[in-house]
């Protein structure tokens, strides 16, 4: 066998190997692209507001992972963390009080977490069903939300007593058990 025959044989074999490899790579790459298409980054101008008769305020820190495609809710996933220490009620003493052991106990429980288990479509909106953890207590929680113009919006009520945040005694009684939470999270690719 001459050298040019050997080279031809090698090239032919390479073609045989390369073609399936090329197809597999393309499929893999497509799948990866599809996965990325559903993944979102949290933009900086998000807001997490809570309101009641008194207090009202915001949390200024939100991190986490959002995977959401309206056409593929089975793959949707929310795994987000709010930093309790980023609370701002507009009053320094209230902030300090909120972080203290009587309320959120931020030294021991620095995070509020929400992790979805499933996402459902309800009419024009969605529901993220998962586990909400506040003050070290985890409860199943359904978070309604909408998604439009690359922005997630959600409004829901949280009963602080469900998570042992404060009590109904003494000065704590002045804080309503249920606080309204409004979340707006713009996202980017």
């Amino acid at each position: 066998m001459e050298i040019c025959d050997i080279a031809t044989l090698i090239l032919w074999n390479m073609k045989k190997i390369a073609l399936p490899f090329l197809i597999a790579s393309t499929l893999l790459f497509s799948a990866f692209t599809a996965f990325n298409a559903a993944q979102w980054k949290i933009a900086e101008d998000y807001s997490i507001k809570f309101s009641s008769k008194d207090p009202s305020g915001v949390f200024n820190s939100l991190k986490g992972e959002i995977v959401f495609d309206p056409n593929d809710l089975a793959a949707a996933r929310f795994d987000v963390v709010v930093d309790v220490n980023s609370i701002n009620t507009g009053n320094g003493m209230k902030n300090k009080h909120a972080k203290s052991e009587k309320w959120f106990d931020a030294a021991i429980y620095p995070d509020i977490k929400f992790k979805s288990n499933k996402v459902l479509a309800i009419a024009d909106a969605y529901q993220a069903v998962g586990v909400l953890e506040i003050h070290g207590i985890s409860k199943e929680f359904t978070m309604p939300f909408t998604f439009a113009n690359s922005t997630f919006k959600s409004s829901f009520d949280v009963n602080r007593l469900d998570f042992n945040v404060g009590t109904t005694e003494g000065m704590s009684a002045k804080v309503p058990p249920t606080l309204k939470v409004d979340v707006t999270v713009p996202v980017t690719r």
Binding site: G57, V58, N88, G90, N91, G92, M93, N95
Partner: protein, 131 residues
Amino acid sequence: MKKIFIHSLLAGVLAGIASLVYNHFYCAALMVDFSKVIGFAAVLGSSVFGTVIAGLGYYVLWRKWGVKVDVWFNAIFILLSLISFMGPLIARLPLEVLSPELFVGATIPMHLFPVIFWLALKPIFGQETKG
């Protein structure tokens, strides 16, 4: 009356300037910004307003108590200044203002400047002798 008015006006202006200087150094040292809440005009205006109102009070009390006015007026002015500490303590700042816990330290000393400058200038202006 004119002497009381000039006394109160001057005390207010000096208190305002002292407050602005203090606020500048406080905010620079602690890297906070309360300019949305306590700007130049608000600090100076409230200092002058406070001392002019105090001057009016002084005039009314002087008409009533005569030469004894200073004893009572000083006590009332100091007491009201101390009570005014409640303002910064219970104030609810706009939520975009960060570190509201440092607001108290920025503003409470300012509440003392009007009475300090009123008392500091008192020997210069002396007692009111005619209405």
